[in-house]
Amino acid sequence: MDRIPDSAKRKRVYAREEVCVGCRLCEVYCIAAHSSYKNDLIKAFKRSYIRPVPRIVVEERKPISFGLQCRHCEEPECVKGCITGAMQQDPETGIVTNDEARCIGCWTCILACPYGVIMRDYREKKVAAKCDFCIENGGEPACVKNCPNEALYIGDVRESCDDAEGGPDK
C-alpha cells in the first residue's frame, strides 16, 4: 500500500568536508540569522542582549572539518520522542521546528537525534535550539549562503531515505 505523499521534494543541507576550511562563518551567520538583527552582523553581535546559540555544529580535527545541522529527517526521531509535542514536522515542507514556547528543556530530543545537532539553549527559559532551515528568512539557510567555499550546499533528498522504524513499509 502506498503512503499518501505528503511532501514535495525535500531538501537538506549537506557538507563537503574536503573543502571546508573550518572558518566557522556558518556559525557566525547562523547566530545573526537567529538574532533580532537578521541582516546586520555587527548589530547582531554587538547589540543582541543575549547572543543566540548557533544551530550548526562545526566539527574539527585537523585537517578534517565540516558543519553539521538538522537533516529534517523524513522519520524524525526528535518529533516522535518529544514529550511535549513542541517539536513538529511541517507536513508540506518536511521542515522540523521546535515551538520554544512549549518546549520545557527535557532534552529527550538530544537523546533521540542521531546527528547530535540539537543544542541546549539556557539563555532564558531553557529550550532546545535547532536548525529551522531559515524558514523565517525565506527558507534560504544563512550558513549555506555565506559559506565562502561551497562546503555547505543544499541537496535534494531521496524519498524514504530514513530507515527509522515506523518508517517506510517493510
Partner: protein, 420 residues
C-alpha cells in the same frame, strides 16, 4: 469501516497520525476516561513546578481532532470489549462498533499493600488530575513525603522543591534510580538533591501511614516516624489491562503483541505502556514504558490498521531527565552483566560522568550525567548496531562527534539520502 482507539495519550495520537498517513477518510473514534484534550503526561511535574501552563501541556493543537477527522468521547469510560461482535462497551452500557480497534490504555499506578492507604491526602503521580489535587495542598512551607526515588518520584520531588515544599523521599533500594544509576552516578545526583534541601531515606519502606481521614505521617520499617502534610506514591506502574482482563485477548504483564502491534485477536491492536512490544536489546517482548516507544508503537499500529504493512522492532529503554538543573540521559543496558564490558569517563571538576556498556563490537547502553550534548549519536549506535571497535577509545571524549568516526561511516551518515 471505522477505527476505534481506547486511550488519548501518546500511543493513541501516534496511531491517529499513523492511520492518516495512509487513510485520510475512515472515521476514527477516541474514547478516554479523562475529560481532557490530549495532553502530555510527563508534563504534570512541570505543571506542578510552575514551569508550564495547562494550555502548553496540550500534546497536539486544539484543532488536532477536527483536522484528522477524529470523533472524541472524552470523560467516557470504556468498560469492556465484545471481541465477537466487535464492539466496545461503555460504562453506561452503550456499544461502539469497530472495524479495527487499538487498545492504548497506558499504565496505572502500582501500590503495594500498606497499612493506612486510602486517606484523602495520599496521591498518585501519573495523571493531570493527580497534580490538580496536589497543587491545592503543596503550599510553601508544607511537608511532603514522596515514596519512590525513580524517575517519576524524583520529578515529583523537583516540582515540590520549586513550590517551596519541604520534601523527604523514601526508597526501598540502596540508591536512587537504582535501575539507571550506579553508585558514582547516584552520589552525584544525591548531592544535587541535598543542595536543594531534599532529604533522601534509602533502604527503608513505609510500614504504615499514620493519621485518621488525613495522613499525618508515616511509620518506617526501622520504627521511626516522620510527620507530613501529604504523601505522593510513585513506586511504579503496571500495564493497565483492566479492560481486557479475563477475556480471550492474550496478556502477560501487558497485552501481547507482535512487531506490527497486532494482538492474538484479528483487527485488535495494542500500543504504548499497556503493550508488551519487542525490546531488541533484551531480545524479548516486554513493556517499554517511555514516550518515544509509545509514539512509535502507536504509529505502527495505526499504519497497519490503515492497511499498510509496518514493523516496529527497534524498541529499547531510553530516558532523559533534568533533575533540579542536572541533566541525566540514559539508553539501553544500564547494568553490568556477563559479556558486557564497561567504560567510564568521570570528570568530578565538571560534575560530568559518562558510562558506556559494550558487548562485542557494539554499544548496548550508556549513561550521561551533566554533559549530555550529542547523546543521540550514541543512541544511534545502539539502534543501528554500529561496529564501534575502530573508535571505541574515543567514546565519551569532550569532542566526540562524527569527526571521531572512520571516514566511510562518517560519509555514510552525513550524506545519507542525497540524490546524486
Amino acid at each position: 469501516m471505522s477505527f476505534v482507539i481506547i486511550g488519548n495519550s501518546t500511543a493513541a495520537i501516534g496511531a491517529v497520525e499513523g492511520i492518516r498517513r495512509y487513510d485520510k477518510h475512515t472515521p476514527i473514534t477516541i474514547i478516554s476516561d479523562e475529560p481532557y484534550h490530549t495532553y502530555s503526561r510527563p508534563l504534570i511535574s512541570y505543571y506542578l513546578g510552575g514551569k508550564t501552563t495547562e494550555e502548553n501541556m496540550l500534546y497536539r493543537s486544539k484543532d488536532f481532532y477536527e483536522k484528522n477527522n477524529v470523533k472524541t468521547m472524552l470523560g467516557v469510560k470504556a468498560e469492556s470489549v465484545d471481541f465477537k461482535k466487535k464492539e466496545v462497551i461503555l460504562q453506561d452500557g452503550s456499544r461502539i462498533p469497530y472495524s479495527k480497534l487499538l487498545i492504548a490504555t497506558g499504565a496505572k499506578p502500582f501500590v503495594p499493600p500498606m497499612e493506612g492507604l486510602g486517606k484523602e491526602n495520599i496521591f498518585n503521580f501519573i495523571k493531570f488530575d493527580d497534580v490538580k489535587k496536589i497543587e491545592k495542598v503543596a503550599v510553601k512551607g508544607s511537608k511532603a513525603i514522596v515514596v519512590g526515588a525513580s524517575f517519576s518520584g524524583l520529578k515529583a520531588v523537583e516540582a515540590l522543591v520549586h513550590r517551596g515544599v519541604k520534601v523527604t523521599v523514601i526508597d526501598i533500594m540502596s540508591r536512587i534510580m537504582p535501575r539507571v544509576l550506579d553508585d558514582t552516578a547516584a552520589s552525584i545526583v544525591m548531592e544535587t538533591l541535598r543542595d536543594s534541601g531534599v532529604e533522601v531515606l534509602l533502604n527503608t519502606t513505609v510500614e504504615k501511614i499514620l493519621g485518621g481521614d488525613r495522613a499525618t505521617g508515616v511509620l518506617l520499617k526501622d520504627g521511626s516516624e516522620l510527620s507530613c502534610d501529604f504523601i505522593i506514591l510513585a513506586i511504579g506502574v503496571r500495564c493497565n489491562t483492566d479492560i481486557v482482563k479475563g477475556t480471550e485477548l492474550k496478556t502477560n504483564r501487558g497485552i501481547v503483541v507482535d512487531s506490527r502491534m497486532q494482538t492474538n485477536i484479528p483487527d485488535v491492536y495494542a500500543a504504548g505502556d499497556v503493550a508488551e512490544g519487542y525490546n531488541f536489546i533484551e531480545d524479548k517482548y516486554m513493556e517499554i514504558a517511555i514516550i518515544p516507544n509509545a509514539y512509535k508503537q502507536g504509529e505502527t499500529a495505526g499504519a497497519n490498521m490503515a492497511g499498510a504493512c509496518k514493523v516496529f522492532d527497534k524498541g529499547f529503554i531510553m530516558n532523559s531527565m533534568p533533575l533540579l538543573g542536572l541533566p541525566i540521559i540514559s539508553a539501553g543496558v544500564s547494568e553490568q552483566r556477563e559479556g558486557i564490558s564497561v567504560k567510564t569517563v568521570y570528570k568530578p571538576e565538571k560534575n560530568s560522568y559518562k558510562k558506556f556498556y559494550i558487548k562485542g563490537n557494539n554499544l548496548v547502553g550508556y549513561l550521561l550525567i551533566n554533559d549530555v550534548d550529542r547523546a543521540g549519536i550514541y543512541t544511534s549506535f545502539i539502534k543501528d548496531k554500529t561496529d564501534i571497535s575502530a573508535f571505541e577509545d574515543s567514546l565519551g571524549s569532550d569532542d566526540f562527534g562524527f569527526v571521531s568516526l572512520p571516514k566511510a561511516l562518517r560519509k555514510d551518515k552525513m550524506l545519507k539520502g542525497e540524490v546524486v
